[in-house]
């Protein structure tokens, strides 16, 4: 636990030591707010469905950019060699790094609380769905982060990690969309609609918290963190 905490602190600080965190937060808030408020006043409804609806697509580009450096940079710079010869276990580093990227996401999401506050000032939104929406946002974001981090363990090139991250998330996202589901063969339908990254998020957005949705995201995170650990250990395979 102590080691995970140390790695977390180091990685989290390193986001804020470099411009990444500031750029990420600024652009994330800028783009999501702009896209949201653009339609908000037309619809004349005090609700945030538009904001939450955008998120799977905004995350698609933003999150792999946060995770791409996590392992690729360590490998490229050679710093992995010191890190992985410290008296810590590989999975502790994987979890520590994941939590750091999750921390950055949480901070960004925290800053976006200005949106529900504005909405509440202008009208009378349903607080419950907004709370659910934020919970769904963090769960889905966590899944994207785990996938993005896994992509970063595959290569020492950050651009490649970014592209693999986006592609994997994209594929997992679209298999759950209506367009793909309708054209998919019948036997694939339940699998796709279960695996789709956005499907469970939409169900959380409706304001009903189903443990299956939460378990789905935790499973995705767990699975990708597990295979990330395997990839990190792969240097020792013989």
């Amino acid at each position: 636990m102590q080691n995970i905490n140390t790695i977390f602190k180091k990685e989290f600080r390193s986001y804020f030591n470099s411009p990444i965190a500031y750029i990420f937060i600024t652009f994330f808030l800028g783009i999501s707010s702009w896209l949201f408020f653009q339609t908000f006043f037309f619809s004349n409804q005090a609700e945030m469905r538009g904001f939450f609806g955008l998120m799977p697509w905004i995350f698609l580009f933003f999150i792999p950019s946060v995770t791409m450096k996590l392992w690729a940079e360590e490998k490229k710079m050679g710093t992995a060699e010191i890190l992985m010869t410290l008296p810590i276990r590989d999975y502790e580093v994987v979890i520590g790094k994941f939590l750091a990227s999750f921390g950055l996401l949480a901070v960004s999401v925290l800053f976006s609380l200005g949106i529900p506050i504005s909405v509440a000032l202008l009208g009378d939104p349903d607080g419950g769905t907004i709370v659910c929406g934020y919970l769904g946002l963090l769960l889905m974001g966590g899944a994207y982060l785990a996938i993005g981090m896994f992509a970063s363990t595959l290569t020492e090139n950050q651009i490649i990690a970014f592209i693999i991250g986006i592609t994997t998330c994209f594929v997992l996202l679209i298999i759950g969309t209506d367009y793909v589901l309708f054209s998919a063969p019948d036997w694939l339908y339940p699998i796709f609609s279960y695996l789709g990254l956005g499907v469970h998020y939409s169900s959380i957005l409706r304001g009903v918290i189903d443990s299956r949705d939460i378990i789905y995201y935790l499973t995705i995170m767990g699975f990708f963190l597990y295979i990330s650990t395997l990839m990190v250990e792969s240097r020792k395979w013989r």
Binding site: E81, I82, M84, T85, R238
Partner: protein
């Protein structure tokens, strides 16, 4: 403290480390020397549990590298080649991180950081980010990092590469100093460095240990006969005959003559009467002008060539050691 038995590791078809065995103890500075790609780094990576060997065993500080990797790492300070550090961290921030992850108690962290900053001469740069530092200082931060938990074993991969001569000397002295109470295993391909710092030399070539011993031992193993360079003013035939008659001299070859000075290469037996003295006395008796008389020194470069390529430059001698190596290679 380090015990390596028949370690073997290959990358695909390339055999990087081939049946390597050696021991090293506290208080030794062991120089790990070999051409690029000889397997130095791979061996070190196995000892620090970064990589796993295909076969063979290694124990470090009494712990097996496979079974007790975490305990091994606790007892080892490791500086990989070219000191890879986090450029975006400050020097102190980095050392704090290392102290924390090395589980140094909170109350002792400050004191430890101060100690390694002191040892490695980092006072001038503690305010800076690692990314701003010169190569030499970065190397020192890397060394500081490896010393922070005061480990009994230090493994340093080319700690002086890329440094200027002053910095190189400083790091060497530092290694020597540290080596009095720790086991330091460091690699290099710079030969004089080994002579200057090591109490023992491990030569590795194409994945195999080809020599293991002190500098003197290695020199003696290589040298089966001595060679003298002599230049005498006089008549060639007369001098040659008289030199051949001296005790302890096995060969006299005139090399060239100019301005009446004859240059000889003289081979003498390794153990036996003092040929240098005999030549000097002969020169005095015969009233020759002795222009030059010196023993050819075998330096590390020649030893290195001898062990890595199987021959000493200029001498076509084949020593016992050499044959030993040939025979082990055939196995």
């Amino acid at each position: 403290m380090i015990e390596v038995r028949e370690l073997t590791k290959s990358y695909g078809p390339t055999l990087a480390v081939n049946n390597v065995s050696f021991n090293a103890n506290i208080g030794e500075v062991v120089g790990f020397i070999g051409p690029n790609g000889a397997g130095k780094t791979t061996t070190m990576r196995i000892l620090t549990c970064y990589l796993t060997a295909d076969a063979g065993t290694a124990t470090v500080a009494g712990f097996d590298v496979l079974e007790h990797a975490i305990d091994v790492r606790k007892n080892v300070g490791y500086l990989p080649e070219s000191a890879p550090l986090y450029a975006d961290m400050g020097v102190v921030e980095y050392l704090k991180f290392m102290a924390e992850i090395r589980e140094i108690p909170k109350t002792r962290r400050k004191e430890r950081i101060r100690t390694v900053v002191d040892i490695c001469g980092l006072e001038g740069v503690i305010q800076k980010d690692i990314g701003e530092l010169s190569k030499g200082y970065r190397q020192r931060v890397g060394l500081a990092q490896s010393l922070i938990h005061d480990p009994p074993i230090l493994i340093l991969d080319e700690p002086t590469s890329g440094l200027d001569p002053t910095q190189t000397i400083e790091i060497r002295n530092l290694i020597k100093e540290i080596g009095t109470e720790k086991l330091v295993l460091f690699s290099t391909h710079i030969l004089p460095e080994v002579a200057a710092t090591c109490s023992r030399i491990l030569m590795i070539s194409r994945g195999k240990i080809v020599a293991n011993g002190t500098l003197e031992e290695l020199i003696n193993q290589v040298r089966s006969e001595n060679k003298l360079h002599v230049a005498i003013k006089g008549t060639e035939d007369e001098i040659t005959t008289k030199l051949r008659g001296l005790d302890g001299i096995t060969g006299v070859t005139p090399v060239k003559t100019d301005n009446g000075i004859v240059r000889y290469e003289i081979t003498t037996t390794h153990e036996g009467p003092d040929a240098t003295g005999a030549i000097f006395n002969a020169a005095v008796q015969n009233r020759w002008d002795l222009v030059e008389l010196h023993e050819e020194s075998i330096d590390l470069e020649q030893i290195f060539l001898h062990y890595t390529t199987g021959q000493i430059s200029g001498t076509p001698t084949k020593s016992v050691v050499n044959e030993d190596i040939d025979s082990t290679e055939e196995e």
